[in-house]
């Protein structure tokens, strides 16, 4: 342990002498500096989504046509909620809302995801890879996990929708013989009047 410290610290100390500022010296010996510089180098697309997040909000999570995904990144303490409204006739995502408490990249990833999945079928949305999100937002490697969180969120929302509507998954509705199993869903919840009031 001490050996490791003795060989790595002089380099840091050398940097510190150049800058002379004491606070910077302290930061230069911890990983904090690299994080700090990452923060400053957010890509403009990230900043755009961060400053003007798309589709922020919530839907009724008890509605049978709404799937909710709630995921978190324990390392950062981030939390992300993604909700999809699905048209049961064609399994298409007709509306999306999200709420993310986390860093700029996590907010941008989920914001972009909402734009991406609107209009997709559940099958298409389930195939979205985090790399698509990371590429669009030019996320640096240290922020890739934010795009993974977004991928987890949409998968979790789809799973939740299928859990509420088991028949939807059994019948492949991708354009073939549709519309039939939906009668089941109508009589599902006890709080139906509430749900239909908003629908």
């Amino acid at each position: 342990m001490f050996r490791r410290v003795s060989t790595t610290l002089p380099a840091a100390a050398n940097r510190a002498v150049q800058t002379t500022a004491r606070t910077q010296f302290i930061r230069s010996t911890t990983p904090a500096l690299s994080h700090a510089s990452q923060r400053r180098s957010y890509h403009e697309k990230v900043l755009d989504h961060y400053n003007n997040p798309r589709n922020v909000g919530s839907m009724k999570k008890d509605s049978s046509d709404v799937g909710t995904g709630l995921v978190g990144a324990p390392a950062c303490g981030d939390v992300m909620k993604l909700q999809i409204k699905v048209d049961p006739n064609n399994d298409t995502i007709t509306d999306v809302k999200f709420k993310t408490f986390g860093c700029g990249s996590a907010i941008a990833s989920s914001s972009y995801l909402t734009e991406l999945v609107r209009g997709m079928t559940l099958e298409q949305a389930g195939k979205i890879r985090n790399t698509e999100i990371a590429k669009e937002l030019s996320l640096p490697p240290v922020k890739l996990h934010c795009s993974m969180l977004a991928e987890d969120a949409i998968k979790s929302a789809i799973t939740n929708y299928y859990a509420k509507n088991p028949k939807a998954k059994a019948t492949d509705l991708g354009g073939t013989g549709a519309a039939m199993p939906k009668i089941e869903i109508e009589k599902l919840p006890a709080d139906a009047p509430q749900a239909s009031a908003t629908a």
Binding site: F2, S6, L9, A13, T29, L70, G72, G77, F101
Partner: protein, 213 residues
Amino acid sequence: MSPVAASRRSISTTSNLQQEAAAATAQQLRRETVIPQTHFDFFRNTFPNGPPPNAPFTPDLQALRREFLQIQAKTHPDLAPASQKRQAEAMSSRVNEAYKAIQDPLKRAQYLLSLQGIDVEDESAKLEENELLMEVMEAREAVDEVENEEELVSIREENNGRIGKSVEILEKAFATGEMETAAQEAIRLRYWMNIEESIHGWEKGQGGGMIHH
């Protein structure tokens, strides 16, 4: 010879240290701490028997701060002779790092877990513990929806309660060596601290503070 190579050599070779009478600073610290193995070893008065479980998870924070300041005063780079300056600065920053890791309950828990080979800071890890996430989501939304500082008070109190409870669980877990419990609680504490940060950064009309990391 570059300055880096010079300072590296004078730290790592004992004979060099002995030759230089002015090398007191680093040597003295080194003797006192008997080659620090962990962050805790720097603070021998606060942790005479080493880290938890040989000490309570929550140390006497005032005593820790006092000891930290004493060490920093002794190893202050300004007091070191010119030839030892860089070395003293390195030592000083090392002590700083140790203090930062120990004085904060979350960082202390994460560090103690890392000493056991448990990584709770793995960024690719994900969490689908709905109950916890829902509580966090609701708390963060509540902070966002607050309209004045008075309303924040009860939210802060509630969150301080969460933090206090987590610290209690961590104290018990580290005392008994239940690392799995400690790891889970460290994650919960991470979320509570983020709520705390958002309360701290709350601004009228802006909602909760943005968290940078």
